[in-house]
Symmetry: C2
Subunit: 330 residues, 2 copies
């Protein structure tokens, strides 16, 4: 395995140590727990937090900061954090207004987050959760709640957290989280598998001349494969599916995420964005401030996750507000 | 070739079209020329610009913005922009205070930049150039001027440009550019080759169990290879060479760049940074605000460029000043 690491058993610990050393002007790690917290979190606002497996960096440690997450509870590589770890994140960031726990829809994350919230509520903390699902390839229309949480959850990390930092009530923050989720759709194309940093094995296989449409963030089975084609042709397939699913309609304005899955170059992301913007324009849909880069990765996997979030003025304001989170930039 | 592009002949055009569409709130392209300019450039300040080959994105289009470059003249894939293109960049950003042309030390960039400056001076524009060299693997100590420009040139794009935006004279800006260069050293380790987006061929070969220390940004021959080893061992070799070359000494403070060459994960960059910070501390050298991420890439090449720049209070101020350049974030 050609990864620049020390020992597979220490990957997560070493990653976090590097992260906290690099960004100790704005980030700190909880002593004795796998939680990083923002030094800029506000005592008089709802704290928005999330737990997730490691191996997707910068997600989600990189989204902790001003106008973004108050904390991130991180697990092992591709493994949800324990209920205790999530509890620690809730406890560390709890305010009188409460804590909003965002939960990306994967079995371990959902179960452990719910247990942690139960424990916190038993200890008289105010906290509520919102399950995020956005991947249209993982369950058909009408069964949205069965869908996986994938790259489009980023809209929630930014918009809902920024909104919470204005001092809104927990109920209002939860409404915003659901609104962002319900306006978000994501679809991922994979070109090249990533390598597990623990086993050194490829995470899945793709034929040399094929790409997979609908891959999950851990290499979960794709909806279908197609022959490798131009950026224009790939964007056409993906935009059509996303626009049809929501549906997004003429007159809508959408924030766009062109998320590199790992080894896909910024050059390719920009070429792909050009095609996406054109297709949206043809459908009468306006693209708003795209996020283009590696945000939620699957190691060095090749591919792009494309996500749209229909936005109104309030959501636009929160999406574009400045942040010092190390992993986010518009 | 599994790249998400349209046609190899249109890569650069498509990339720039996507870039300008994505960031038209702050970037514009010169009509009829391969130049992108910052909408935030100041009429009463020296403009700092650079020309470079494409294929290294976000370098250098992504470094155009407030407190960074006033313009970037871009060439074809791994090919210097023409003198005419560089002239256009000088002309578009020229102010009464003049233009500072940063030149990364590669034959084409140097020749074409000098021709462009001659043309601009003939047309009564004030412009002067500074050749940047930082790669300690490409020429021995004492022959610094023969060294290639590699990832460490990023320190100049940020610090010198930020300084220029305060209104200093061209002479002062040139002094700063030379100061930043003379305090910078870079060394690159390559693990996996990148693929030329034009030919579809791997750009070089590395044995499965080896890594190359001293690779250039276009896959230029490395100083030596070693067996793949731990992040700690690799950092030790690289830090020792960098520290010895300058030399950096106990009491120094250095801005650090841990630059991903393409497919290396943020996880690995953070693990590597942890080791670098420790080694610097052991040498009595303090790390200042590291830049960790993909800044100057060689397609999907695996590897890390490590660069140090010894900084004083003035340089620290300019390094950390906010910017809206899409490709830069601390």
């Amino acid at each position: 395995m050609k990864k620049i690491i020390n020992h597979p058993d220490h990957i997560v610990k070493d990653t976090i140590e590097g992260f906290v050393k690099a960004y100790n002007d704005r980030i700190e790690k909880l002593e004795g727990s796998q939680v990083v917290v923002s030094k800029d979190r506000k005592d008089d606002c709802v704290s928005v937090i999330i737990g997730n497996g490691s191996g997707h960096e910068p997600a989600c440690i990189g989204f902790v900061g001003k106008n973004m997450l108050a904390a991130n509870a991180y697990g092992g590589i591709f493994a949800a954090p324990s209920p205790d770890t999530l509890y620690d994140a809730i406890e560390a960031t709890h305010t009188e207004k409460g804590v909003c726990v965002l939960i990306s829809n994967h079995a371990g994350d959902v179960i452990n987050s719910k247990m942690a919230m139960d424990m916190a509520q038993d200890d008289d903390m105010v906290c509520k959760g919102v399950i995020l699902y956005d991947d249209i390839a993982s369950a058909p229309k009408g069964e949205e709640v069965e869908r996986r949480g994938t790259a489009g959850t980023l809209f929630n990390y930014k918009i809902t957290s920024s909104y919470a930092a204005e001092g809104h009530s927990l109920d209002d923050v939860l409404v915003m989280a659901e609104k962002v989720r319900d306006n978000t759709r994501t679809l991922t194309v994979a070109t090249v598998p990533g390598t597990s940093p623990i086993t050194g094995y490829k995470m899945f296989e793709i034929a040399d001349d094929e790409i997979e449409i609908g891959m999950g963030v851990h290499g979960e089975a794709a909806a279908h494969n197609m022959k490798i084609d131009t950026a224009e042709a790939i964007a056409k397939v993906m935009c059509a599916k996303l626009i049809e699913d929501k549906p997004y309609v003429s007159g809508d304005e959408v924030a766009v995420l062109v998320n590199g899955c790992g080894q896909t170059t910024y050059m390719e992301l920009l070429i792909f964005y050009k095609e996406v913007e054109k297709l949206l324009a043809e459908a009468g849909i306006k693209a708003y401030k795209p996020a283009i880069g590696n945000f939620i990765t699957t190691q060095e996997m090749g591919g792009i996750a494309l996500a749209f979030c229909k936005v109104d003025e309030e959501m636009k304001k929160q999406w574009s507000k400045e942040t010092n989170a190390p992993g986010f930039k518009l």
